[in-house]
């Protein structure tokens, strides 16, 4: 194979300069304005929504959705860094510093998550049904009794901290070693990271699956799906690669990396967006197919909620918007190589990635209320509970948390924006699609 090796363009601007701080300022501004607006909206609310004891319930549900959105983006980026080293990848090298900056947001994201984790530990019951006294009622929830050892507020908090520590440790280790190489140019660092990537990937897979189980799936504690961690990760990677495309374009618009990142690299980012779009649909269908066909009440009830009433329109929108439309149009080579079209799909998929998380979490808002055992809600055919019940707080919290994510990324967007002494840099610069 004749691989093209190029060296850095002499006029290339590769230092971040004020790029990171301007992103950080924008992020902090977004976070302050929109999270503040959310607080105002909640405080202006007169009473709690029907079936909820606290008027903060909707805020916390929206916060979990928004937090999952900003958490999955560094999660997906950590995956591509690990994969890059694991398989001796080449093309990623030119954008890897940006991926590393994106995983740098882990710490701030995990701190932001304490907003919903700490209240749960402190005894707030209107978010996770398993934290309510009802959950401990063996007559009301016989099956749930076996899960309450795992789903207890204290253990939940410990796990949350452990997941964050592993993510922050793994991502900062790769970023630190990569920066060391900028100084020393030692190719052994690359060899070393290749060795770390293997075990790192295994740990990463478990942690990511369990973040999905604990934070999102446990909103419906009586329901279970072993593939849920995979659908959570697949949907997250769609969002992560979309975000990468947008940030790389933004960096280029500032006059940096203009010669290094070419349409060949955008093409590969687009390929991952396309691959995960289909992967998400594949695993979602695998989950749906088995539960629908198996027709076990504990499992199908989750889908019954999403297949009838208002939620069926959201489900259909997911099928068409998150899969069919991007699948057909991202299949072509040109929609991935022409940057405006790739940007369109990146924004589109980010919105639908959020909708996917919303669709996973929000039906439980009406379903799992204090006092509802198995006999209330959908099993009793209570269609009155099948409404989407959209709330402006859902959006304002989401945008505010995107601000948190941008602040976290901006804080790490500094120094060289390209690993200048990486042994694979030449191959990455000369990367061409056959």
């Amino acid at each position: 194979m004749s691989a093209l090796v190029k060296s850095l363009h002499p006029d290339e601007k590769i230092t971040a300069g004020k790029l990171g701080s301007s992103m950080m300022k924008a992020g902090v501004g977004l976070a302050v304005v929109f999270l503040g607006l959310s607080l105002v909206l909640v405080l202006a609310r007169g009473t709690a929504e029907a079936g909820h004891a606290s008027k903060w319930a909707r805020f916390f549900y929206a916060y979990v959705v928004g937090w999952c959105f900003i958490a999955t983006i560094p999660i997906g980026m950590l995956w591509i860094i690990l994969l890059h080293f694991l398989v001796r990848g080449r093309w990623v090298t030119v954008v890897r510093r940006i991926c590393e900056a994106m995983t740098g947001s882990f710490l701030l994201v995990w701190i932001a998550g304490l907003v919903f984790v700490v209240p749960v530990v402190a005894g707030y019951q209107d978010l996770y049904y398993w934290a309510t006294p009802d959950a401990h009622d063996a007559a009301l929830n016989p099956v749930l009794q076996h899960k309450l050892g795992w789903l207890s507020p204290g253990f939940f908090f410990i796990r949350y901290i452990a997941y964050g520590a592993i993510y922050v440790g793994l991502s900062s280790y790769f970023a630190k070693k990569s920066r060391e190489q900028d100084e020393s140019g030692d190719p052994k660092i690359t060899d070393h990271l290749r060795k770390v990537a293997g075990p790192g990937m295994i740990v990463y897979a478990f942690v990511t699956a369990f973040v999905g189980f604990d934070v999102l799936m446990s909103l419906a504690p009586k329901w279970y799906s072993t593939i849920f961690g995979v659908t959570f990760w697949g949907s997250g990677c769609v969002g992560a690669f979309s975000a990468l495309a947008l940030i790389v374009l933004w960096v280029q618009r500032s006059g940096r990396l203009v010669h290094s990142v070419t349409e060949e690299h955008y093409h590969d980012i687009g390929k991952w967006m396309f691959a995960f779009t289909f992967f998400w649909a594949y695993v979602q269908f695998s989950q749906f197919m088995l539960q629908w066909y198996g027709n076990m009440p504990d499992e199908t009830i989750w889908y019954k909620y999403r297949m009838f009433g208002d939620w069926q329109w959201v489900s259909i929108a997911m099928l068409v918007g998150f899969w069919a439309f991007p699948f057909v149009f991202l299949m072509s080579r040109w929609t991935k190589r022409i940057v405006p079209s790739l940007v369109f799909f990146a924004v589109w998929q980010l919105v639908f990635h959020w909708l996917d998380l919303y669709w996973n979490a929000m039906p439980q808002f009406d379903w799992y209320q204090p006092g509802n055992g198995l006999n209330a809600g959908p099993l009793a055919g209570n269609l009155a509970l099948h409404h989407v019940g959209f709330d402006p707080v859902d959006i304002t919290v989401w945008i505010g948390l995107i601000g948190v994510l941008l602040a976290g990324i901006g804080g790490h967007l500094k120094g060289n924006l390209i690993p200048v002494k990486d042994p694979t840099l030449g191959l990455s610069l000369g990367h061409e699609q056959l």
Binding site: M1, S2, M289, Y293, E432
Partner: protein
């Protein structure tokens, strides 16, 4: 296939004259040293206006397609069409089989339901997409092609190893022998050969043995189909062909076959009259049939057997009731429901399909089951009642008694009053 020396032109023939065995000029073949030079030369040939030329390389070369001016293949579109057709075909197949030609009611489930059909449609889509890409690639490359005039150049053999070639066909309208060769020389060719079509008629035709082999093997492959076709349309009085007669006709008798040794012409002899096989006597009327001596010979028992046939004491205890509950939940609940009220899944689903049959409510105090003696209940489980079939084949006797005990417990529990649970009574 070896090439005789005298048929082969060793060196480039500067005047374009035909040597022995050479026919008309097919084209010129230029060799290049590196893939980079090949790409540069291909661009020059394209820029000179040639269209009928090709590049040959041991491996895919970056940038050769735009250099040659090759248009992007339409194969992806063809594959998409193939995949789409496959998916639709898979759906149509399932619709035809399940919902049209042979509808089959499986506990009231719909015969046509998209989610259940997606895996098959998906696999059919993949199958046809793969087949279209494989054979489409062949068709687009005009494969299979076993012979090409360039193969006559010995030099060309290195194209699978370390050499790079451009071949310009004489059929190109811009082809001019001298000018074309000049162009290739200027483009940096290290050797240029003329290439002629084969002129020797003996070598132009396919060897006879290959033709014979293809015809013979095709004919041979058709034999099974011919035999099958003949067998479908003709009658024969000849017996089957037996390849191993001593295996097909063994000197023994199989059950349920004819045998002229006995007056009834049957091989099966049955039980000898007046005998019972060891362990099959079942003489305990109470345990095996639920009967006790009564006014008119026998009557249904209202109690339970005192012992099992092996002499063990028959105790109506928790263990028996738990066993009864498990058996009841397995065998009886589909119709009678977990609470015995006759609301199981079968009547529930059947009701969706219109007129239905009613299942006996086992726990209704006014039902015949409430007053039925235990023995009769046992007999109903064994031999059935009205539309209910007997379960003697599935449930052993001891388990049938356990179910009887459990049904009694269920009747009691379903009609419980506050008196039954003094500990739960509100003061």
């Amino acid at each position: 296939m070896s090439t005789p020396k005298d048929n082969h032109d060793e060196t480039s023939n500067g005047n374009g004259e035909a040597s022995n065995g050479d026919g008309e000029l097919y084209g010129v073949l230029a060799e290049f040293d590196t893939p980079g030079e090949l790409v540069t030369a291909a661009r020059k040939v394209k820029d000179a206006g040639y269209t009928e030329f090709d590049c040959f390389s041991p491996f895919p070369v970056h940038g050769i397609d735009p250099a040659m001016g090759v248009k992007r293949t339409i194969l992806p579109l063809v594959i998409f069409g193939g995949g789409f057709t496959g998916a639709l075909g898979g759906l149509a197949l399932q619709w035809y089989c399940n919902a049209h030609a042979w509808t089959w009611n499986i506990s009231g489930k719909p015969t046509w339901s998209i989610p259940a059909n997606i895996p098959i449609a998906y696999e059919c889509g993949i199958l046809l997409a793969v087949l279209t890409s494989f054979f489409g690639m062949w068709a687009a490359n005009k494969l299979p092609q076993v012979w090409h005039p360039f193969f006559r150049q010995e030099r060309f053999g290195r194209v699978t190893d370390d050499s790079f070639f451009i071949g310009i066909h004489a059929s190109d309208e811009r082809f001019d022998h001298a000018r074309t060769k000049k162009l290739l020389e200027d483009a940096g060719a290290i050797a240029i050969d003329d290439c002629h079509r084969e002129n020797d008629p003996a070598r132009k035709t396919m060897p006879k043995w290959i033709t014979a082999f293809i015809i013979a093997s095709t004919a041979f492959a058709l034999i099974p189909f011919a035999i099958a076709a003949k067998a479908r349309t003709s009658k024969s009085s000849e017996p089957h062909i037996h390849i191993f007669p001593d295996m097909d006709f063994q000197p023994k008798y199989k059950s349920d076959t004819a045998m002229d040794l006995f007056p009834d012409d049957r091989e099966n002899r049955g039980d000898i009259e007046g005998t019972v096989a060891r362990g099959w006597l079942e003489e305990d009327d109470l345990f095996y049939r639920g009967l006790v001596p009564g006014d008119n010979g026998t009557q249904w028992t209202t109690g339970f057997p005192a012992t099992y046939p092996d002499g063990e004491k028959f105790a109506v205890d928790d263990k028996l009731l738990e066993r009864g509950q498990k058996r009841f939940n397995i065998y009886c609940t589909p119709c009678h429901g977990y609470d015995g009220r006759g609301q199981g899944m079968v009547p529930t689903r059947a009701a969706l399909n219109g007129p239905t049959w009613s299942v006996r409510n086992l726990v209704d105090p006014t039902s015949v089951v409430a007053t039925m003696p235990n023995g009769q209940l046992f007999n109903t489980i064994s031999n059935g009642f009205n539309t209910m079939l007997g379960y003697a084949a599935q449930i052993p006797h001891a388990d049938r008694w356990a179910i009887v005990a459990y049904v009694r417990a269920l009747q009691r529990a379903q009609n419980a009053t506050a008196e039954d649970r003094p500990d739960q009574r509100t003061p």
